[in-house]
Assembly symmetry: C2
Homo-oligomer: 303 residues x 2
DNA sequence: CGGTGGCCTAACCTCCGGCAATGGACGTGC
DNA sequence: GCACGTCCATTGCCGGAGGTTAGGCCACCG
């Protein structure tokens, strides 16, 4: 009778991809049998077939066509609902949640928190680490009011961004790597190296940190890592190399890994993001605070 | 991240009742701990409290107030979606689903089926038995296009009805009951008898078959039964008595139970119901067919 | 004709959602 | 003041849902 919104998400994914395998792997990060089973179950619940899989290809039935707009609308409605709830909770608790897509230094966190407190007396800023695979860094489902993340952010529809700093991209190498002794490294040196990539679910972020734009041929992906720890463990083990931002070379310093500047890569941009429709003053204050903190200035006490 | 629509239904129930215990028992037919756990889980997912249970009473928090309209909208949207899908499926399969709230005789079923087939060449009428506790007899979630049910039907908002027959109400007694030998029975004779009632979830239907309108004091409810078999087993066992429609006295004839007319009760009405917004010709044809079949006339071949 | 791609089925594992019983906080009546 | 009733939370348990991997069937293609 009722339905799980997840099932509708699955349905929309298949309807848009017109392929179970691709929808499962590339958009939903589940196995294809799991997806097939869920769709079957949805069809059973509705007592009708939603897809025609007869002729080797997948297409929507009339019933599927009827469901699709409703499913999209319900998913959008839930995003709205979660955002509304988050805003109401923030207002009554006087708390702003900030999601960190990368591990920012404690300096930035503290500066932002202090600045918010100074400009919004009685309010607090809370920080939450969000996984790199979360498409909108926790903004979409309302759990986070402002996100600090590297551009590009996948699923960025409906999000606004302000770049708060730009940094050069460096490369992380195992300690004994042939390039570890070089003083200057250009991307051509790395072109054929095996890379540790972000999970496929990260979408454009994965492509950016593989420097796909700078390549003529597909990269060699030797492994995937969802967290920074996994990433540098893989680098240290010699499985592959990876790009990172200059600021993170300090944060993730370790003995078995060396970081070197790549001189000819376009820099990466750290941005503060918020929901475009979110016009609360608290959000604007936080974004401003992020910008000031990233600029290295302390919150200006009496400008 | 995603949410189960059931949880939103639970939330709306508690928000409207402002009581966990009542919402669980009277509206959702689940236990109170299950409801509490689900609401807690929803709150955890949204990372905020939806209800304030601190001062012995239950009230909505600001976040709860923010969620309520969205939740209602999503539930309505899903009802729409299910109806749309059902209509699309019916159109492409040329099938009309008819839900039976009570066990109608095969005569009625066959007459309707034949009539539909005669007037909508290529179409079929399929019948499904729906439980008495289903608020809208399967109409709400689109699984059924036309329902045949006794009035009043709970949750009847958005439904249209046409009365297709009226019948006197009789009473079902165990074989040796003191009233079994009486020729005429008035409701006053039954007033203090223990009754077998429909489950509380049946709402106004339960009240109607307890003849609540004809009483000055609350009825004695000796037990509940969800199916006809349970009901007459309970009557035969002497646990209590129950009202039924005249037509059903034939359908449910058995040795250990006797049926007697109650001469002074208002009759009951059997109706064909459909979704008010559903203007498909197939639905109209079926409703007409129900009316003709109930009137005892065969489908008019060449009127 | 064998390889490949794509969906389905089967077996299994984990965790969620339900129930029953119990506990604790608070208001109420004698 | 104390026993009691009411109502929500907690605990322990069980069945089913949702996920995984492994393997099968079928169409297409070189």
């Amino acid at each position: 009778m009722d339905v799980h919104l997840r099932d509708l998400r699955y349905f929309v994914a298949v309807a848009e991809e017109l392929s179970f395998t691709r929808a499962a792997a590339e958009r939903l990060s589940i196995s294809q049998p799991a997806l097939s089973k869920q769709i079957r179950q949805l069809e059973t619940r509705l007592r009708t077939e939603l897809f025609d899989r007869s002729d080797g290809t997948v297409s929507l039935t009339a019933a599927g066509e009827a469901l699709l707009p409703h499913a999209r609308k319900m998913l959008a409605e839930w995003a709205d609902a979660a955002a509304s709830v988050g805003e109401a909770a923030a207002a009554s608790q006087q708390t702003v949640w900030i999601g960190l897509h990368t591990r920012a230094g404690h300096a930035l966190v503290h500066a932002v928190a202090a600045d918010v407190e100074a400009r919004l007396p009685g309010w607090r800023a809370e920080f939450r680490q969000v996984g790199g695979t979360d498409p909108a860094a926790g903004l979409a489902d309302g759990g986070v009011d402002v996100a600090i993340a590297w551009l590009p952010v996948p699923g960025g529809a409906g999000l606004s961004a302000r770049v708060i700093t730009t940094e050069d991209r460096w490369v992380s190498l195992p300690a004994g790597h042939r390039l570890a002794g070089r003083t200057t490294i250009v991307f051509a040196d790395l072109h054929d190296e095996p890379f540790i990539a972000l999970p496929a679910a990260a979408g454009p972020m994965r492509e950016f940190w593989l420097a796909l734009d700078q390549r003529g041929s597909p990269p060699v992906v030797a492994g995937e890592a969802a967290t920074a720890e996994e990433l540098f463990d893989a680098v240290a083990a010699g499985i592959g190399i990876a790009l990172l931002s200059e600021g993170n070379t300090d944060v993730y310093r370790r003995d078995d890994v060396v970081h070197r500047r790549v001189v000819d890569l376009p820099p990466c941009e750290l941005a503060a993001l918020w929901r475009s429709g979110d016009r609360r003053s608290a959000v604007r204050v936080v974004v401003d605070a992020c910008e000031r903190a990233a600029a290295g200035r302390a919150p200006d006490q009496h400008e």
